[in-house]
Symmetry: C2
Subunit: 214 residues, 2 copies
DNA sequence: ACCTGAACACCGTTCAAGT
DNA sequence: ACCTGAACACCGTTCAAGT
């Protein structure tokens, strides 16, 4: 993600055919603005244009409207999210499916707490209106799919039986619980919160373990 | 919550000293608008004024700014939330603390799914900017306090021991999980969701039971 | 093909003026 | 004391015009 140009700095004219470069710059500027957006601030298409150094209507050459720009932002943020969780999983040297699932859970929660602006855009529909767009659902699906795979692979304790509950159901429930921890932590910051990583481990165990019980 | 006046209908002048009545009407109109607000729509102070039948600047006689109006909205919505959960708990005829806790959980989740607009305002910081305002935290605290009380009262199975984990920690974790179910269900509607009430019961059991284990 | 300034209907908020 | 219309700086979006 490139740094957005300082406001007002004049922009050298794009060479012919370099329209895609500007498109990318617009997306990156929007992402940078969303990251720095306090709860008091508004996100505006005009501020994105200003950061890139173009006139506001120029955005419409690359995106039909504000929602389309935000859809492209979502796509990029979700790709980064997939990469982040895969990296966290691959960093697990010794450990099976359980350790990998937990590593993914912790990485996603840590991301949310570190980048609340992006978490809100990704998972709370903040700023983005067209959540029912099927593309948005597809952006997030790989995250769920990998979670289901790992839950399926988790070995039961000796003497206990395999995962008995529907793994997709468990994956959705786990996602909801982790999502809730970040969302409530962000939105109700004045409560007395214990260390969040502990909560993540506790709730992951609580949801998966009964399904493994003998 | 009174029905807001139809847009444009002229308003008879308030009698002297009836300023508080208008204040209430503004709050109720805002609540009605937020309830009907689709994800595409914007909430505006001007639309509230229009619904009440007054000029936009008249709102400023009763509220210093938009955020103050929304704070009053939050206060009323939280009161209603407390009343709703208390009613759900009192409807439990036979059953101890566990049944009461579950009744409150189900009632709160059903409310969120039925009134996503209000859920977002109450718990996702939608539209409302000043979430760090300590008053907002206090609005929600009775909900947490009652949950802690009930968790403390839950009787362990015969032969098992009392709640061993910090009850406040369990209450926060339970709240986060329930919050996550509603939030993710609302914000990711295209996933294949099992019946939500089943998820509520499953996750409540999963979080509370390990603390009761012998 | 790519980008612009001017204009439109909106928004929150301020302020001088009316009853 | 209570409410208003006009005005300000913003917003998303459209459009005719420029290179």
């Amino acid at each position: 993600m490139e740094k957005p140009r300082a406001a007002g700095v004049p922009r050298s004219r794009n060479a012919r055919g370099s329209g895609d470069r500007l498109r990318g710059e617009i997306i990156d500027a929007a992402i940078a603005i969303l990251a720095a957006l306090g709860p008091e601030d508004q996100f505006s298409l005009r501020s994105v244009a200003k950061a890139v150094g173009i006139a506001a209507p120029s955005v419409y050459i690359h995106f039909p409207d504000r929602a389309a720009l935000l859809l492209a932002v979502l796509e990029k943020l979700f790709s980064a999210q997939v990469a982040l969780r895969n990296a966290a999983e691959e960093a697990v040297e010794h450990g099976g499916a359980w350790a990998r699932l937990l590593a993914r859970s912790i990485a996603s929660v840590e991301f949310g707490l570190k980048h609340p602006g992006h978490f809100r855009v990704l998972f709370e529909g903040r700023v983005v209106p067209r959540l029912t767009d099927p593309r948005v659902a597809d952006f997030g699906r790989p995250l769920l799919v990998r979670s289901i795979e790992l839950i399926n692979q988790i070995a039961p304790a000796p003497g206990a039986r395999r995962v008995s509950d529907d793994p997709q159901r468990l994956a959705l429930l786990l996602w909801a619980a982790l999502h809730g921890i970040v969302s409530l932590r962000i939105n109700k910051p004045t409560f007395e919160w214990p260390p969040v990583i502990e909560l993540v481990e506790q709730v992951t165990r609580a949801i998966i373990q009964p399904a493994l019980a003998g």
